[in-house]
């Protein structure tokens, strides 16, 4: 089926990086079995694969953050092994890892000095990325995730690498910043330098990348050119035999729900959010479509008790509620799945403790834990989301996507009436994404109410019954999911009137 990379005739002199047969295991867990990768000079090369396929492990090996158990890496034709990231850096390889890497308690400037980053060139790239006037004496602790990612990127660019590796950088970025990252990547390509790009979003890969290497279960299973209708093949290669199943599970038409009102929001104001009203019913998935920063974050935060609204009301079961703490919202049955897993997870603790955290969230539950009952509830949730828990120890050892799933599993096990999903599929592979949307629909069908924001507009139709569109902090449109194709949503999300209305 797939052209094995060994017998494709790329042993040309144009290869900047040639890795073959790379293997890595962590105790009993095999993260990489046999990974091959060839990257040419002046190429943007995608690395694709399902959650846990080994993408992050591969880039960590290439950049010296991990040492391989076997295999070879050749750079410009010469065999190399990097024992540390600084050795790789000297050879011109640098990676922006999946999780932010600035030390939170040093200023940005101190971080730069610590890594011997040329400040002036850092500033220049920061300006390219749209952060021109950035104050270097800020503590990373106080910064939002997208900014942290861009700082990491600028720091990597500042050393003028030959090969830049980007591990899911766009997962935490809004659309406008993503396009800045793209133009920086293209600029590198134009200068004859190369980029390895990891993302779960096929659309990004086909828009940006020249070729894609696909990993499955730690093995390279093919090299594809995504632009020429290669997307289908990438999905097939990534998912292997399960691809068909997943495709069959995709979008089924949703009907409008007629359940009782779960939550009513009246004239809610908070930050950018400027007077939004709507009702959410049991049995429906209500989509929220918005470009980043239109008040959607504030809406979710108010409904989840993370922040207080400046004015307006949230009615649950017909009664006005005031949420001063997430605990209040959870009592009323509203639970939040945040987009940023670092915000929701206990990284040093086990999967089980992470999922079981809501079980002990009240004083009345401070007493002895019933281990059998807890284990059962956790196991059910883990199974339902197919979380890969071969490593049962700390959550930080799971792959990014599996960490995200742990955050979702917590509330499946913990119980809720209304689920507030804020971009729940960031960093989750296509197969799992469909699974999660399937799950969300199933939850609604069983009587829950779901409010879902996703930064990927085409996915609204996969999961929702109805959509509301936010623009400039106001609710500008509402439509049944059947009308909410990407075009319609994009128009509305940019504040344009719908086409029929013109």
């Amino acid at each position: 089926m797939a052209a094995a990379p060994n017998d494709d005739s790329l042993t040309d002199s144009g290869s900047l990086l040639e890795a073959s047969g790379l293997a890595k295991h962590f105790g009993p867990v095999v993260a990489l079995r046999s990974a091959d990768l060839r990257v040419r000079g002046g190429e943007i090369h995608a690395l694709m694969g399902a959650n846990g396929a080994g993408k992050s492990t591969l880039v960590k090996i290439l950049t010296g953050a991990l040492t391989a158990d076997g295999g070879t890496i050749r750079l410009g034709g010469r065999a190399r092994t990097f024992r540390s990231t600084s050795e790789a850096r000297k050879a011109g390889l640098i990676c922006v890892y999946q999780d932010p890497s600035l030390l939170p308690d040093l200023t940005v400037l101190q971080n730069l000095i610590l890594t011997a980053t040329p400040i002036s060139s850092f500033r220049r790239y920061l300006a390219d990325l749209g952060l021109g006037g950035f104050d270097l004496s800020t503590m990373p602790r106080e910064l939002a995730r997208p900014t942290l990612s861009l700082l990491d990127l600028a720091r990597a660019l500042a050393i003028e690498p030959q090969l830049l590796l980007l591990d899911e950088i766009t997962a935490s970025l809004p659309a406008d910043l993503t396009s800045r990252v793209f133009s920086v990547a293209r600029q590198l390509r134009a200068e004859g330098r190369s980029v390895i790009f990891i993302s779960h979003r096929l659309a990004e890969v086909s828009a940006l990348c020249d070729r894609a290497t696909v990993l499955r279960d730690g093995k390279t299973v093919g090299v594809v050119e995504p632009a020429q209708g290669g997307e289908e093949r990438i999905v097939k290669l990534m998912l292997g035999p399960v691809a068909e199943e997943v495709a069959a599970e995709a979008a089924s038409p949703s009907t409008p729900a007629t359940g009782a009102v779960a939550v009513e929001v009246r004239d809610l104001k908070a930050g950018t959010l400027n007077g939004v009203s709507f009702t959410l019913r049991f049995g429906e998935v209500l989509g929220v479509a918005a470009l980043e920063g239109q008040g959607e974050k504030e809406l979710f935060d108010c409904m989840a008790g993370v922040r207080r609204p400046e004015s307006g009301q949230i009615l649950v079961g017909g009664k006005a509620r005031s949420f001063g703490h997430p605990a209040d919202a959870i009592r009323a049955g509203l639970v939040l799945i945040p987009a940023d897993r670092l915000q929701a997870l206990l990284r040093q603790r086990s999967v089980r403790e992470n999922i079981a955290l809501p079980f002990v969230n009240r004083i009345a539950r401070w007493g002895p834990i019933n281990p059998r009952r807890e284990k059962r509830r956790v196991a059910t949730a883990v199974k339902r989301l197919q979380i890969d828990t071969r490593v049962t120890s700390e959550v930080r050892r799971l792959s990014g996507g599996n960490q995200q799933k742990v955050g979702i599993a917590r509330w499946l096990a913990g119980g809720f009436k209304t689920l507030l999903c804020f971009d729940p599929t960031r960093g989750i592979d296509i197969g799992t994404k469909r699974q999660i949307y399937g799950l969300v629909k199933e939850l609604a069908a069983n009587g829950s109410a779901v409010l879902l924001f996703t930064s990927e507009l085409p996915e609204i139709q996969l999961a929702c019954n109805r959509v509301i569109v936010l623009f400039g902090g106001e609710l500008v449109d509402e439509m049944p999911a059947s009308d909410a194709d990407e075009r319609a949503l994009l128009r509305a999300a940019h504040g344009l009137p719908s086409e029929e209305g013109e």
Binding site: G27, V306, Q343, A344, L346, R349, L357, V360, G367, I369
Partner: protein
Amino acid sequence: MSSRAAATARIVQQNSIIVLIALLVALAGLIEVIRPGAVNANWVSNILEFAAPLGILAAGQTLVVITGGIDLSVANVATAAAYIMASQAPFGVTRGIVAGLLVGVVVGLVNGVGVAVFRVQPLIMTLAMGLVVTGTLNVYSQAAVRSVPGVPAVIHTLGSGTVLEYVPVSLFLWAVLAAVLIIGLRGTGFGRLLYALGDNQEATRLAGVRGWQVLLTNYMACGLLSAVAGIVLAGTVNAADLSLANILLLPSVAAVVIGGTSIFGGSGSYSGTAVGALILTVLNSVLTLLDVPDAVKQVLYGAIIVLLAAAYTRVLGRD
């Protein structure tokens, strides 16, 4: 990290208690080499007797460090509790003990309110409280107490009595408290929340936990344990002076660190701390045997803490 080193790391990680116990045995071996015949039942009995108050003091410290905090008032609280217990004992031993324990709970409450409600840095809050406690105790001793109070017989027995000749009475109390802590940390909701808060306060909040309730209770528990430790120590040395437990502040932190609890919170265990307390006591015994002056001892303690902390980061890959 090569896979061999990774494998070693895993073994050490899963059995860090065993490594610590091996270290303990090695130190005892060292004593036996320096002075053959020194390690006997009597010596073991003595070590346990002196380790018990430190172990109890470090128990409270462990609880606080797991949440990512630190309590620098434990030693002052222990001293004050013992002193007040002794000075109140003439009006009834029970009254004395209750008064002593109350000191711990009240100071813990204030620490807890400061840290959990007003969000003062634990280091600053507890350092300040320690000074307040010591100052208040001095005022109290000048105003209300005529002579250095004696330690009641029951407490003396608790601190230095033995059963079957060699088993210290205080070991029973320590064992019970240790069991409660070890089981409680692992198997109760409260224990879970301590680790959760130490790992990620924001995540814990999002899961619906009101962190201040947990922290407040926890600082009170730490105060109470410190008071117990002070009272036991007064029994062990058969005196309750104004600086009784003050030298135990650093060892209480050292025992926690040696025991493998992360100083940044989120992981650790009391069993590690308990062995840490034993190691420190034996180490002290080695140094005393070698006639090492106190100042040098302090330097060695410091060096050992740094070395072990570095070793933990290395071997366990903590970040």
